[in-house]
Symmetry: C3
């Protein structure tokens, strides 16, 4: 806000090449439908090429210049990454003033690093540890024996149950709950008997967890979200699940107990995975798919549908579903034709 | 509680016509299965007509009298609306005593209107504004620069991230999160790079948002919930989504980034919409449907299924799905018949 | 932690029979893949029998000894229940030190039982009651007139709206919201008119509710979760729903308004039930199923699919779905064969 850059300076900063007027001064960033003079914008989706042609933006970040556009181009191999850098140039992250609010309750046996921020109404339990420069927003509850690494952002009203371990540079969005009891009950003749859930959750470095997502503690052992995984909002992660490094999971997906997701997996919104199964590294699971069994890369890299099937199969199937009534009629006609012939 | 009305007075108050004994005194309201003498009830669903006939309620709100019932009728063109008015007559909304709790933390640079209620454990950030008569329940977190209009109810533990704008008469239920980061990450050779999410959320007048629903801030620009839209619990609204005015969305639905929902749209529970698509005004989307592409009213007004198809097509398809095994057998029989004939 | 048992003593404690060396001393419990000498483990899933054979655990809880295993066996008719008892033997539940934090806000008209724990940042409203030995963790909000029974655990940031009734030995996990308004709006010519939601929620004895689950109050009357029901995380329970005793519901399922679920029903994750329907006692509903109508045990005890159909039908259908494109081709071939014959 208020910052200005010559386009050539901005290009150098983000590792892009200017095609066009490098001396132009830009003072902000905007979506491609809205960007005007003095602003930088970003062409991600090829279906927005028309916007690029008509845009009055001063500069457009793209993989290559769009013919017919008046704008200058910031050409980058990874325009999405360059775009991230440009946004950050204009909107440097808010810096919080470190300090411990006297409206927080911090157990004397806990250990806080340097330059930690503890907002009002935060509670920090017995023996908990909070790393350097980590920010705990209002209403965060840090249970007994929890450890949180350095440079984390823990947004308002996040709950970390006792014993949970969180790595460095982790972002936990508002209302997410880490370490609640796994869903385990033994049926007995007079109702359910709770299986005590005495394991923990480990959230490794560079993970981000969305708002109101829930990650259950292990029955025994560890529920683990590995390094660099990104979880969206309202996701359910069951007890003893392992989510591999660099895996991304969209909102409202659910992963049942003891399932193991590999590294760099992409899971679509509202997908559901049964328990005790494995998803191999690098697979993609479509939105709303339902996965009853383990998925192997050797069968398909992309899976969709309920129950999940290879994506190309699903695509063909999905086009034909609405034609099912017609197919029934055609089969009936064939049967009647047969009868007629027989009847002759 | 404790209030009594002559039926004729109640009818006048709610704009209904009495058919039957207007001088009867009623002192409460109850569901049709339970209502007894002295109580008013409500016939919404025609399948409950049997209850209306047998009811010992003193009065029934309905579009027209039910023959054979002993009750008086409060006849209204919009019985559901009339019912709302009757409930309110017997249960006037709780009035909170305005005041700022000394257990709240209110930044001195924030501006609070008249007769605002700020409960204990509320935090109000730098430069935030809260309109007249708005009630902030315990544990609400109002971020830096947030503005909230007059006559809002913000239930316990709601989180408003910095910069969020909320209109007048908005109801935000417990635990909902407005303005958390959109889910945007650029893949790079060493993992994901976060796209800073620097836009905001605007929640316009007369919107209601359910418990634990999450509405993400825009990457750039605005995520917007337009005037009079009603969102149920546990809904996910992605970054840069627009939800039109008067649109109603049932629980656990999810709307991916940059999708635009028209006005007066109805979306069923657990429905899922992909990103960057449009849903035209007035459409209805069935529960659990999955929408991969934009939906046009000219094709169908009601959509169902995964992937979504016109509702009448879905209905026919859905009836036939369980008969698919039979269809395979019938086709096999036809093929065998052909072979037999060929074999001859 | 630190506790040790002779196997024969442990067996007596949990009601199991030792097959093997009863004098061995065990000092911990671990999952079957990880358990080593000195540890007890548990064989639930027959597909883990290989682990049992190879395990170096000192003892394995199972329905019967696994031939070829070196371990001793703790044989039990209900190994899952025995396992729960063993975990508890090694990990006795944490005992909280009762007391009322001076950082909590407790209305003077409320009534707290003996040995209640009220953590910092808890608010307890006018006329509320909290039973003996119940623990309210930080940030819990207990509304006006709420009653909570004895021996409950109410985890951080749970919200109980006014008038909600909670029984004895109830566990409410972090962030769950009990008693938010049902989703009821009457359409009028100028937008929606809210139907006041003036009923309550009753959560009976021995219920457990998962993190961030939402249970709406009744419009009139009661939304009821009956004795011993277990709800996982992120579930939606609409207004006026009844959930029978001993029913278990997996994460992210949703139950629409006025639906009645019987006793000892099992509902899979992400299942969705429409409103105003009934599910009979003892039924099982598969993950992700969609239920548009009432379900009867006389038709099927297990239901799956969208729309829900008897599970055996669904299984056969689901296997054939990916073959739908092939079926279309086969029917086309039959039609062409017919034409050819006709053309002759």
């Amino acid at each position: 806000m208020g910052s200005e850059f010559r386009l050539s300076d901005l290009a150098a900063r983000i590792g892009a090449v200017v095609v066009g007027a490098g001396e132009v001064v830009v003072s902000g960033v905007a979506p491609i439908e809205e960007a005007g003079p003095g602003q930088v914008t970003f062409l991600a989706n090829p279906k927005y090429q028309g916007f690029a042609r008509d845009s009055s933006a001063s500069a457009i970040i793209a993989r290559e210049p769009v013919p017919g556009s008046r704008a200058a181009f910031l050409v980058s191999d990874n325009p999405y990454h360059a775009f991230a850098c440009v946004i950050e140039a204009f909107h440097p992250p808010a810096v919080s003033v470190p300090g411990i609010s006297d409206r927080a309750v911090v157990d004397p046996s806990s250990r806080l690093g340097t330059d930690v921020t503890v907002a009002p109404f935060v509670s920090i339990g017995e023996g908990a540890e909070v790393g350097d420069r980590t920010v705990l927003f209002p209403g965060v509850c840090v249970g007994k024996g929890v450890s949180i690494g350095p440079d984390c952002l823990v947004y308002p009203n996040v709950v970390l149950y006792p014993g949970v371990k969180v790595g460095a540079r982790v972002v936990l969005h508002a209302g997410c709950v880490i370490g609640s009891d796994g869903f385990g009950f033994a049926p007995t003749s007079d109702g359910f008997r709770k299986i005590p859930q005495v394991g923990i959750v480990e959230v490794e470095d560079d993970v981000e967890v969305g708002a109101n997502t829930t990650i259950d503690r292990a029955t025994l052992g560890v529920t683990r979200v590995c390094r660099g995984a990104k979880l969206d909002n309202l996701i359910q992660v069951g007890h003893n699940v392992v989510i591999g490094s660099g895996t991304a999971i969209a909102a409202q997906a659910g992963i049942s107990g003891s399932t193991r997701i590999g590294s760099r997996v992409m899971i679509g919104g509202q997908a559901g995975l049964a328990g005790h199964l494995e998803v191999e590294d690098g697979l993609m699971l479509g939105a709303k798919c339902g996965v009853p069994d383990s998925l192997r890369a050797s069968v398909s890299r992309v899976w969709s549908g309920m129950p999940a099937m290879p994506h190309p199969t699903w695509l063909r199937m999905a086009i034909l579903l609405p034609k099912l009534p017609e197919l029934f009629r055609r089969v009936k006609r064939l049967e009647e034709g047969k009868k007629t012939r027989r009847g002759k």
